[in-house]
Structure formats: structure tokens, C-alpha cells
Amino acid sequence: MTTEPLLSVRDLTVSFDTDDGLVQAVNGVSFDVHPGETLAVVGESGSGKSVTAMATMRLLPRSARISGSITFDGRDLLSLSDREMRRIQGEDIAMIFQDPMTALNPVFTVGNQLAEAIRIHHPDVSKKAASERSIELLEIVGIPEPRIRVENYPHEFSGGMRQRAMIAMAIANQPKLLIADEPTTALDVTIQAQVIEVMRKAQEATGAAMILITHDLGLVAGVAERVQVMYGGRLFETGDTGTIYYRSRNPYTQGLMRSIPTFAKRTDERLSPIPGSPPSAINLPAGCSFRPRCEFAEAICRDEEPALRPLDPAGAHQSRCHFAEELPDFSQRTAEVAG
């Protein structure tokens, strides 16, 4: 990419001191997000994908030990004061959470909260203008009768509508970066489809870049331009969406793709699961953290942790595996189209 990255994360490491010992949640993660693009961060529980996002928003508890650098629009977020950071939160970077109920305040109307979100960052905007803008925002996210709905409290909204309202709040100040943490996980399939469309529209309306954090490989396939796969706090593979799905060069990514049943193909054959479970961040295996579950593991995988290596000259496709080049080809291509 030739454009200057909007967000540049370098060697981000996050650990927590707990009763059980030091938890290495994120370990040496580096990546860029360019203006307007959608980057998906994919991983299972404990992969560190959410902690990475929370670190970017500076939303981690004080007990978190963070090192590395997060540069957003030329400023190092980790060295900003809380006050300076608050100016960026919600204005330049906005977050869409999994559970809208926790993000909306139950005792204020949706319109109140939208207007408040605008006026916090733009105190010069009049109340009337802010309230007009709230209605406009609700319209963008497809809430019917926004003039009436703006007076409602969050509990009067359905789950899908609350998620829309939260998206409206996220885009209220035309942020440059949206971070969506499992935005559709709590929703039903038909509502999910609506919300994905709303996010797409919201992104279009604002030109914002988006980091989409999810475990849903189907969702990623439809919306992301680039994908990075995390496992045990490390980046395991990163590349264009097509590259990851059709030309993955990482045993974990391949295993993940193989283990999902997909209704678009007849699947009478057995699934091919990855044995075992994702690692605990307290006692990560020595060497490659995927080694205990990997069918290709050899002695070197225990002795030496593989580096995230570029597999093409531009470095667009990178994989963390000693045997990235030798792995069998794999493609997540469904045989036929349903419906």
C-alpha cells in the first residue's frame, strides 16, 4: 500500500497480572490500517483479538501492562494523557460493541444519548441542531420513523434496533476509524444481515476505516478486504481476504477453515477438526503455540518459535510457520451456490 496508514500498531504486547500468574494476552502484534479499508481480526477465545482492539481504544483496565506503540493519524496513542485520549475516543475512533445494552445508558432516551455524543466533542453545536442530527443518524442506520423513535429509551428498542442505534452513535462524529468487536454475534441471522448492511452503509457515509473483530469466518468473507488471524496472542497469518481463504499458508488458518461446516455444500463426509483446544494465555506452549495441536509439527516447532514471515515480495501475505512454503495447498471454496 502506498497511502500513509491511518493506524499503525507496532510490537503491541499486553499482559495482565492475575492470581493465576502473568497472562500474556497479546504478544508482539504489528499491523497497519489504511484509510477507508476494512481489516478483519479473526480468532477464537483467548486469541487476543479483543484485547488488541481495547488497547487501541485505550479501554483496558489499569492493571494491564502495555508496551509497543499505537500510532493513529501521526500521534502515539499510548503516550497521550487521559484527557487527550478522550478527545479521540468517539470523535476519531469509535467503537461498536457486541452487546448494545451495555453501551447504551438505560435511563436516557436514544436521542439524548446521540445528541450528547455529538455535543461532547462539539460543544458549539446547538441542542436543536444536535437533535436534528440525531434523527438524521437514525435514518442512516435504517430505523423506521426516526422522529418518533428518537424519543424512545433503549429498552423500547429491539436487539437489532439497539445495535443500529449504537452504530448511529459510533458514526455521529464522522470517525476515521470504527472498531467493531463481534458486532453481530448476539443477533439472529436475519437481523445480522440487516446490521451488516447498516455497517456497510455507515462506513460508506463516513468513509471510515474499520477493524472488524470476529470469530465468524462467513461475516469476514463478505465484508473484509484484509484479514489477520490471531492465535494465542500472536498474529499467525495476514493477507488479502482472497489469499487467506484460498491460498492460506498457515496450518492453524487452514485447520480453522476446514473445521467449519458450511451449508452451501453437501457435507456427508466427516468434518476435520483441529484436535485439542485453544491455549491458555497463562502457560503458552514453548516454541510455536499451535504446535501441540498441529499435524505438521516437527522438533523445530518446539525448539524455536517461528517468526511472522512475508511470503511475497510486497509482504502483503505473511505467515507464522516454519513450513509455510511446504504446506499442502488449501482452498476454502464451496462447491456450489445455494438458494
Binding site: 492470581d19 484436535p275 483446544s277 491455549p279 502457560n283 516454541g287 501441540p292
Partner: protein, 327 residues
């Protein structure tokens, strides 16, 4: 990751949690003598026995350990120390009235020349006994009524909750005053009356916990297996309520000791000359200016016991919960 050498898979005693697809390669590695990491399953497992783990969890709780040791020490001295003394708690020494601390009477003597050390330790004995009886009785009554109300719900709950509320609104002190004035009281009598007044606190907690647990999937699973209500209550829900019950019971021990002292202070508690810590404070109230030690010593024991019991309860709650992680 660090380059530090890691302990290798020397422990072969534990075969690991082998999944159906697992091959021959061992997936576990020993972290220390009794902790094993299953790398394939991403789990840390302790090889210590359940009892040992419970003890380890308790031991980690420094304050609780200290409180337990102190309580044991207090109890022993309450029982043993008076035996070593040549004075009984009723023995009057007219030659030594209102004496300050001395070698012969380390805590001094009261207005009729009784040795205060002996009386304080005897008082501690009776106070502790009352507190223990109260704790056991309230826990028993509260748990039975609370669990029935919470598990069965409906009309059972409505009736029992009314009963609980009825007891809660009874002004405890007034009842105790009336009963105490009318009948006087023995230590056991006071304990029973206190228990009758304090059980609703436990019952409410237990009822709430049962309401919360009764629709949990593991309870449904027990029902799906054909378990009858008594089994579900005793084997499934009750063990999950031990923590809060113990904490509340220990809080009640503190309350009971303090209430007993209050009653005695008001002159309607355990009938003198039987000493309790409260009686002693009551008897010394006239000397608050001249000899504050006669109040501070028994009063200090009341506070000390109540504090220790609370810390002990904290430690027990954590130790009895297998999901509390070991350090």
C-alpha cells in the same frame, strides 16, 4: 517468548486428557511438582488431591490463617487459663476490691474483689459458646426455610417469605428485653432466643441463591436424569451456596456476640454472677472514668472475636470454592 529452558515432559504419571483424535505424542508438561499443563487442551491442572487443594486455598488467605490461629488460641486460653488460676469466677476477695492490674490479679479485680482475669476468660467462654450455638441454629433454620422457599417457589415461597418478613420486622431488641426481664436467662436460653431472631437473615440469602440456581442448566440436567427435589436441593444446589452461607453465618457470630453483650449491658442478658463479655462491660460501666481497663479489656475481646470470625469466614468461602484458582 523467553529463551529460558522449560521443564521437559518428565512426568509420565499423568497421561493427559487425551482426546479421541489424539495420537501417541504426549501433550502434557510438568510445570512444577504438582502442576501439569496440558498443551493440546490449553489447560493447567493440579495433581493435588481435593482436600489438599482446599487446604492450599485456605492457607493462601493469610488473614484467615492468622484469624483461625488467634481464635484457637483464644478458645484454648478461655478454657485452660481459668483452671490454672487459684480463683474461681465467683470467688470474692473482700481484701482486694477495685484493684488495678497487679501480679496477683493481672486484669485487676471488680468492685466486690473478684479476679477480672478469671472472670474475663470465663466470660469469653460463655460468649463464644452462645455465639457458636447461635451460628449453628440460625444456619440450620435459615437454610431449611430459605431452600424450601427458593426451590419450590409459588405458594410455598409466598408463605415462607411472609414468615421471614414477619421475623425480620420484629424489633429484636425489644423482644429480647421483654423476655430477658420476664424470665432472666441462661447462656443457652439467650442463644436460642438470639437464633430465633436472627435466622431470617440467613433464610433470605439462601432463598435468593436457590432462586438463582434452580433454573441453572445443571439443575435441569439433574431433573432430566430423574432426580427428586430432595436430591437436587441437597446434592446440587446446597453445595453451591456454602460460600455465602458461611460468610453470613460468620457475620452472625459477630452479631450474636455483640447482641449478647448489648443485652448484658442493658442488664437483661445472662443472669449474673455468670460472666459473659457483655456482663463484664456492664458491671464495669461505673468505672469508665476511674478504671477504663475494666471496660476496654472485655470490650476488646468482643471486637477481636468478631473480627477474627469474619476473616475466618472469608478464608473458608474461598477455600470451599473449587473454582477459586490456586496461586
Amino acid at each position: 517468548m523467553s529463551e529460558q529452558p522449560r521443564p521437559e515432559e518428565a512426568h509420565t504419571g499423568d497421561p493427559g486428557l487425551v482426546t479421541a483424535e489424539a495420537d501417541a505424542e504426549p501433550t502434557t508438561r510438568a510445570l512444577s511438582d504438582d502442576v501439569i499443563v496440558d498443551e493440546r487442551e490449553g489447560m493447567t491442572i493440579s495433581t493435588r488431591s481435593f482436600g489438599r487443594q482446599t487446604w492450599d486455598r485456605f492457607r493462601r488467605h493469610r488473614l484467615a490463617m492468622f484469624a483461625a490461629a488467634l481464635l484457637v488460641l483464644l478458645a484454648i486460653s478461655f478454657w485452660v487459663a481459668p483452671m490454672l488460676s487459684s480463683y474461681g469466677f465467683r470467688d470474692i476477695d473482700v481484701a482486694a476490691m477495685r484493684e488495678g492490674p497487679s501480679f496477683r490479679h493481672p486484669f485487676g479485680t471488680d468492685q466486690i474483689g473478684r479476679d477480672l482475669l478469671v472472670r474475663t476468660f470465663h466470660g469469653g467462654r460463655f460468649s463464644l459458646r452462645i455465639a457458636l450455638v447461635v451460628a449453628l441454629l440460625t444456619t440450620f433454620i435459615g437454610t431449611v426455610i430459605g431452600s424450601l422457599a427458593g426451590y419450590f417457589g409459588g405458594i410455598v415461597d409466598t408463605l415462607l417469605s411472609q414468615l421471614i418478613n414477619l421475623f425480620l420486622i420484629v424489633p429484636a431488641l425489644v423482644v429480647l428485653l421483654v423476655v430477658g426481664v420476664r424470665y432472666g436467662a441462661s447462656p443457652n436460653g439467650i442463644a436460642v432466643i438470639l437464633a430465633l431472631l436472627l435466622w431470617p437473615a440467613i433464610a433470605r440469602v439462601v432463598r435468593g441463591l436457590f432462586l438463582q440456581f434452580r433454573d441453572q442448566e445443571f439443575v435441569l440436567a439433574a431433573r432430566a436424569a430423574g432426580a427428586r427435589p430432595p436430591r437436587i436441593i441437597v446434592r446440587h444446589i446446597l453445595p453451591n451456596t456454602f460460600g455465602p452461607i458461611i460468610v453470613n453465618a460468620t457475620l452472625l457470630i459477630g452479631t450474636a456476640i455483640i447482641l449478647e453483650s448489648t443485652l448484658s449491658f442493658l442488664g437483661v442478658g445472662v443472669t449474673p454472677p455468670t460472666p459473659t463479655l457483655g456482663n463484664l462491660v456492664n458491671e464495669a460501666k461505673g468505672a469508665i472514668d476511674s478504671r477504663p481497663s475494666t471496660i476496654l479489656i472485655p470490650g476488646g475481646f468482643v471486637v477481636l472475636i468478631a473480627l477474627c470470625v469474619n476473616f475466618l469466614g472469608d478464608g473458608l468461602r474461598d477455600a470451599l470454592d473449587p473454582t477459586t484458582r490456586k496461586g
